[in-house]
Symmetry: C2
Subunit: 285 residues, 2 copies
């Protein structure tokens, strides 16, 4: 018993560590929402790099550098696993993060791609995202790596992020913009549509109505939450806590309307928001 | 004669130096467009800090630091005057820039405010801008400093920037969004509306139609071009060239669709675009 106690002095200590989640901004809060549904007893620490958003327009080396800083910051908070809740960072930085850090690291692209292939009958899959994500064809490459006969069409929808942040989830203008963006994908006859941006689940209702009820929407936040649950189970790192998990939020800037938008994305009140000094982040991590 | 030659070895040399213009991104190209109309024989050098856009969500000290770097970069290109074609940098960094650099420096806020007061009969003035600009009340403060009895109402229109960048200048969705944003200002009964973001002149037609033909729109790019013309005249620094000026463009990143959007903003083909390495910008300026 003594020997076991030394290895694990407090029973369940390692498993009660929080899950870390980072994003370039606030979009990743839709992933936290899903994670808290899938793993309600887990503690979650979120870091949103709101001072340096967006990552999509930055060079690969910058995105990798920022992702490493964000991960080091979360590791210092003693996380047991990491969710990269940012499609840009997922597509660029995950190989480097996996090389550098010895914890389970889950992105958006692979879980979302696997779920799309699982749900799709026709293997005609659509992907919508920011101009940067779509420009990199990150989902197309991943889906075709997993199933070379799949057909993937990607379409950038740049107005969806500001529409989600405005909270115009049922506005007539949102329907018209969705019509304009999704018309082409509807005509191609996809049966599955990946929401390739963590902001987009906010507009899921409009997107579903415009693309048609027969098309299955894939929320990468749902997909990645299931993957991390399986990973933690395998490693015996699921929390044994019987009470609801606690969420803590760190951001590098608190822009105007932050609380309002964050709560829309998270689906509930946001508490425990701390501002991280960017200079400290850069120099210490 | 010799004495004069020594002071000014090539006649008109100082006056033939370019005018420098910087912005956090590409919005400032609408200012370049106006500047080239007002001063067709002047050479212009533009720097768009596309890698670090937007400035609006950054701290004051960061905006000042970036503005100093951008100005030093342009000074190295031998500019004779500077236009800060970014509302955020104009409202925050101009006092520091004026202290540090001994050339004429013109922003957006003061010229736009003066022109609004000049055009307005009722002194009921509206201002639209990004959430950051409106949050700072930069135009309200400037207008009230110039005329304490003026009434100013500011309204953020966050979707106008992405709509302008999408080029949806006559889209039904743009009209509906403008209706939503401008309804309140129309009901208040303003007679003058300041376009407090350098992207907004792209949407001037929709904005004019929605706000009504009796409301005068103020383009700060037009206002600042007139101010810089007057300044250069006073200092005897207007170019004596009889041929059309040349424009050169530097950006810290070339994002997707850059050329298309830049040409929409500039109103003509864009040539001579150079990418500036951000690390060089930070370390050398």
């Amino acid at each position: 018993m003594n020997h076991t106690d030394k290895q694990n002095p407090i029973p369940g200590e390692a498993s009660r560590k929080p899950i870390g989640v980072f994003d370039s901004g606030i979009g990743g809060l839709t992933v936290v929402k899903r994670l808290a549904i899938t793993l309600p007893n887990e503690n979650i620490i979120y870091f949103g790099d709101t001072a340096r958003v967006p990552y999509g327009s930055k060079s690969n080396s910058t995105v990798i550098e920022y992702s490493i800083q964000n991960t080091k910051f979360l590791l210092q908070k003693n996380i047991k696993a990491l969710v990269v809740a940012c499609n840009t960072a997922s597509s660029i930085a995950i190989p480097d993060l996996k090389k550098m850090f010895d914890i389970p690291i889950i992105g958006m692209i692979e879980p979302g791609s696997r779920m799309a292939l699982k749900k799709s009958q026709s293997k005609n899959i659509g992907v919508i995202g920011t101009r940067a994500t779509v420009g990199n064809l990150a989902y197309s490459k991943e889906i075709k790596k997993l199933n070379s006969s799949a057909q993937v069409v990607e379409k950038p929808c740049p107005l969806f992020v500001p529409l989600a942040e405005e909270g115009w989830i049922k506005h007539q203008a949102t329907f018209e913009i969705a019509e304009e963006y999704l018309n082409e994908l509807r005509e191609i006859g996809i049966d599955t549509l990946v929401l390739g941006c963590t902001h987009y689940p906010i507009l899921a209702e409009v997107i579903q109505e415009v693309i048609g009820s027969k098309v299955e929407l894939i929320d990468s936040g749902v997909a990645s939450s299931e993957v991390i649950k399986t990973e933690l189970e395998k490693l015996d790192l699921l929390s044994d806590s019987k009470t609801s998990g606690v969420q803590e939020y760190y951001v590098s800037d608190i822009p105007a309307k932050f609380k309002e938008v964050a709560e829309l994305f998270l689906g509930r009140e946001i508490e425990h928001v701390h501002k991280v000094d960017l200079e400290v982040l850069i120099s210490e991590y």
